[in-house]
Amino acid sequence: MSTQTSGMAIETAGLVKTFGETRAVDGVDLSVPAGTVYGVLGPNGAGKTTTVKMLATLLRPDGGEAHVFGHDVVREADEVRGRVSLTGQYASVDEDLTGTENLVLLGRLLGHHKKAARSRAAQLLEAFGLTEAAGKQVKQYSGGMRRRIDIAASILNTPDLLFLDEPTTGLDPRSRNQVWDIVRAVVAQGTTVLLTTQYLDEADQLASRIAVIDRGRVIAEGTKGELKSSVGAGTVHLRLRDPDRRDLAAGLLRRALDAQVQLEHDPVALTARLGAAASDDNAAEQASRALGELARAGITVDNFSLGQPSLDEVFLALTGHDTHDSGHDPHDSGHADGSDHSHDPKDEVAA
């Protein structure tokens, strides 16, 4: 009832989940407006997956409350299940069955008649470009295909709320872009999406509001702009031809960009974090100005890139510690942070 009036897809208050001694989720408050993409950003073990599992009625909270479209996730679990879909980190389809069989199976479980389930399955496979693989067992699918069939399974009935738990972890950049396109298409039809991710650029691409969580707590929340201005607009990575000129270059950058400059182990490399004054709009402008200054001083730059702050940098700025010493959440994946090089921020805006 409160659903329509508040317009909130998800509301949680003081949500807690403990596994033995570990407080995997330690008092999370979230308010997700209906019809938006809400990003939950955090490293492995931060409690993202555990939070999603509680909201999707798969885990019982040990404390606090959570409502999905006004329904309590514990007392009215069935109501909640009728309106949400979940795509987990790992293929949440049956790997022994074919693409078609999976979709028909789930279609039948959602109450479609055999014929309707078959035609819906065929349409979805077509839309997701999986028609050719429809008769193959899912265990033979590539990573990108798995995510597609997974998301297809989640929208057999158009859900009001879709949980996407790290939908692009482990995907190559192309498949990742395709998943983003799918998410945009789903949202365009009015579905609310809760997206968990380890990658700031992913949250940036898709989400309108972002919560950063660490060790089971929300440490920052706001629109993308608010969050970014708290950590600076981005990072400039430079490689110089002559290592002897590095100190000079660092000094110039400090003045020109009002940036914190860090000298890397590599004697020709340095990194400058743009200050709070730089916004998304003028970051590139500032960076090119700095490049001009270096050129005037006769410093040859071999390689230059401007990227968004990485999750590591966001974390450093928000918490003062990096992502690696976060607590352990048995429900989060074992992927090491930054193991996927396609997400290296340096690749984003190469000069």
Partner: protein, 282 residues
């Protein structure tokens, strides 16, 4: 694997945003399916799995054949004068024993399957909760039926002649499959309760061996010591074996059938709710 994967992703057709949007536009949802319908759908899943991995039928084909041959020729001469005589007594019993033993694979497959991501999806669906487990057991009931057919065929080749005819044999198998379906809830419980496949297997052996061997499957309990008779005569397996033996032999052992069905009901009533409690907490 990685090379195959990368070639596949290159050939992957693009996602069609328009057809996707057209699919998403419909917000109507079909009415919630009945418990029967979802259970049958999960049963269909079990059959699809057999279709894709037919090797898993090994335990319902080779194992039962081995059981019939082994015990007929091992004990036949000593216990009944000849294997051919003995099989008249043994076959219904060994049928019961083998099928009840096969039920324990249910626990192992539940245990390995439940860890997979697809269970999260099943558990997030608005359906009658036990249907996942019921579906499993329906698929297994098919396996039990296959095992029974295989053993009967071997038995008939070896000289078994059921006096109950086709009707009696079918009634016997139906009772056995029904009992095994009910009995399997013990294994779904262990499958969900124990952490590893190995521990499920270990515990299952501890339960199944004494329960099946300490029965009237091989010999008449009259020669056993009194304390053992007390156990054997009241064991559900003894009641079931007597009932199946009677039905296949052309009698109508009403009391034994009632006992077997009573035990079956008890198993479902006790272990069904425990299984579902564990399933909901997993």
């Amino acid at each position: 694997m990685s090379t195959a994967t990368s070639t596949e992703s290159k050939e992957l057709a693009p996602v069609s945003a328009e057809s996707l949007a057209a699919l998403l536009i419909s917000k109507e949802r079909p009415p919630r399916p009945s418990a029967w319908s979802t259970s049958m759908t999960f049963g269909w899943r079990a059959i699809l799995k057999i279709k894709h991995v037919p090797e898993q039928l090994f335990d319902v084909t080779a194992f039962p054949i081995m059981m019939v041959l082994m015990y007929t020729y091992l004990f036949g001469g000593a216990l009944a004068g000849s294997p051919k005589e003995y099989i008249q007594f043994l076959l219904p019993g060994i049928l019961v024993m083998s099928v009840v033993m096969i039920t324990m694979y249910t626990g192992v497959s539940v245990n390995t399957d439940i860890e997979k991501g697809v269970f999260d999806r099943f558990r997030s669906l608005p359906i009658w909760r036990p249907s996942t487990m019921v579906g499993y057991l329906l698929g297994d009931a098919l396996r039990y039926t296959i095992a029974s057919a295989v053993m009967l065929t071997v038995g008939i080749i070896l000289g078994y002649r059921p006096d109950g005819g086709v009707g009696g044999v079918l009634a016997g198998i139906a009772l056995l499959v029904l009992f095994s379906f009910a009995f399997s809830w013990i294994w779904t419980m262990f499958g969900l309760m124990l952490r590893t496949e190995k521990s499920v297997m270990g515990v299952s052996m501890m339960v199944i061996f004494p329960l099946t061997f300490l029965s009237n499957v091989f010999v008449d309990p009259k020669t056993m010591p009194g304390w053992l008779q007390a156990f054997v005569n009241n064991s559900p397996i003894t009641h079931l074996a007597s009932a199946v033996r009677g039905l296949m032999g052309g009698d109508w052992p009403a009391a034994e059938v009632a006992w077997a069905l009573g035990w079956a009901g008890l198993f479902v009533l006790v272990f069904g709710p425990i299984t579902m409690r564990l399933y909901n907490r997993k």
